[in-house]
């Protein structure tokens, strides 16, 4: 029996024998269910993108008004002026994503296989920080990474800061207002988005597969490499996407923990839109960001071979 013939949901009429051919009214049910939500997305998500596309090829000023002049040059100008912020955004977001994967995987693994009866508690602890406003938590990093704070002292004593300063991640024995602080904040803020999908896909793995691998004389490392990790790929892919995409457009971490040298493209879009009021440039920048991210996501999904994910 196919699902099409099982209209469970809305009250469409009196109970009919299910073998009768669905009436027109019944065939319309899915469309009625979809209509309000899809309309909302079309009007407030898709249509705005069209407006933005049109804004990006306008010229003019706030006083005289803007007009569509197909001035594509805006894109080139925006790229020329702000490519450092673009590259920085992708770099920071990429680094944060890799760090999230490295940090998140053991925790997701711990919850899925090792936590036992503590599993729910650990899961709660992963989700709970969500509920303290993320801005408040990001501000807390200011306290943690403050000059002369414990973290900076320890890193300084261990000469880690010398290395990171040499790499250009930190400056003169301080962490705050450096790339390292921004990446730390990004990693922190998007970590749950990595852990939860990882956990979901790890949890689906049948524990007997591990036993089987062990029975076949695979070392724990080989088991992980040949069995666990490949089976967790859907989680890895959706986790990296859920981390990378929002991180690449974020400006909160760069603004709160960074300096003018660590500005990301989100900050530029924000200030162009809300402070400079140069709408065409802002629209062009945000379009380029969207295009770059969508392109990278598509290539990534193709390459990792999990197209059915979407």
């Amino acid at each position: 029996m196919s699902l099409t013939e099982a209209p469970p949901a809305p009250p469409t009429g009196p109970g009919e024998p299910k073998l009768r051919k669905p009436s027109t009214r019944k065939r319309l049910v899915p469309y009625w269910l979809l209509l309000p939500g899809i309309l909302w997305l079309v009007v407030f998500f898709a249509l705005p993108l069209v407006y933005q596309a049109s804004t990006s090829v306008q010229t003019g000023s706030l006083e005289k008004g803007f007009e569509v002049t197909w001035h594509v040059q805006t894109y080139a100008d925006a790229l020329r002026d702000y490519y450092p912020q673009f590259i920085r955004s992708l770099l920071y977001a990429g680094t944060a994503t890799v760090l999230c994967l490295l940090l998140g995987y053991p925790l997701a693994y711990l919850i899925a296989f090792k936590a036992g009866r503590w599993r729910n508690l650990v899961l709660v602890l992963v989700i709970a920080p969500f509920f303290t406003s993320f801005l408040i938590r990001t501000l807390a990093w200011k306290t943690i990474l403050a000059d002369g704070g414990a973290v900076v002292d320890v890193l300084g004593t261990l000469h880690v800061l010398d290395v990171t300063s040499w790499l250009g991640w930190t400056e003169n024995n301080r962490v705050l207002a450096t790339p390292m602080a921004v990446v730390c904040g990004l990693t922190y803020n998007f970590l749950p988005f990595m852990i939860l999908p990882l956990y979901t896909s790890l949890e689906r793995i049948d524990g007997r597969l591990h036993e089987a691998a062990g029975d076949l004389y695979a070392t724990p490392a080989t088991t992980f490499r040949k069995v666990t990790f490949p089976l967790s790929m859907p989680g890895v892919v959706s986790g990296t996407l859920l981390t990378f995409i929002p991180a690449s457009g974020d400006y909160v971490n760069a603004e709160l923990l960074g300096s003018t040298d660590t500005k990301m493209v989100g900050s530029v879009i924000q200030s162009q839109f809300l402070r400079v009021l140069d709408y065409p440039t802002a629209a062009a920048l945000s379009f380029i960001l969207m295009a770059v991210v969508l392109l990278m996501v598509t290539v990534y999904i193709r390459r990792s071979g999990t197209e059915d994910l979407v």
């Binding site: 099409t4 998500f45 711990l110 406003s133 306290t143 929002p246």
Partner: protein, 267 residues
Amino acid sequence: MPVLRWIRRNLVVLAGLLTLAYMILPNAVVMVFSFNKPKGRFNYAWRQFSLDAWKDPCGVADLCGSLSLSLQIAFWATLGATALGTMIAFALVRYRFRARGTINSLIFLPMAMPEVVMAASLLTLFLNMGAQLGFWTILIAHIMFCLSFVVTAVKARVMSMDPRLEEAARDLYAGPVQTFVRVTLPIAAPGIAAGALLAFALSFDDFIITNFNAGSTVTFPMFVWGSAQRGTPVQINVIGTAMFVIAVAVVLAGQLMANRRKSNAGK
């Protein structure tokens, strides 16, 4: 060395716990500094234990106003997004129709787009329409970006539902309404609840989209953002701590209830 061997054997657990500590650390700092009595405007250095901020959480101008505004917006956004999203999820799982692919991408795209892009494009729409930025534009935006997450959460649950249960209900002469209310809805409820909870958290915490589309209206995240420049009052830590504690309590209570139900069902 036995210690080293122990560390090697429990490497995953140790690494996981370290990550957990990294995740909880800021919450702990927020909690500790909610009992601070700072000198001057900035609450970044520990000075003296005090309960002042806890006694008077609304003692800062506009703080509780922005908090109540955020709660209202989150409430209505959750209601709107959950209703619309649940309907979409049911339509997508239970029916085959044309344009399913298009609709699936339309649902996926808002989640696959940097927030700042959505925020900026929505602002261009509102500017073009000459809309007055404020409560309503924020609400519209929040329902928009919460919708996809609700659909995903509800879809996952509805997909794993056994359609035979509904068939059985119909075989037992339950009408469509009765089947829906007595069978379908209770089974889908955890998915709908998860979607609603997610929508509430996302809406309450959203800064980027709100920042673009709020005009001069100040929600709680925007208040925090603004105060970061002026110097954060201790009360912000109090509210952050309270949110954390309430959330943990609610989730734990839910778990306890679920456990009890499970053990009752086992009897």
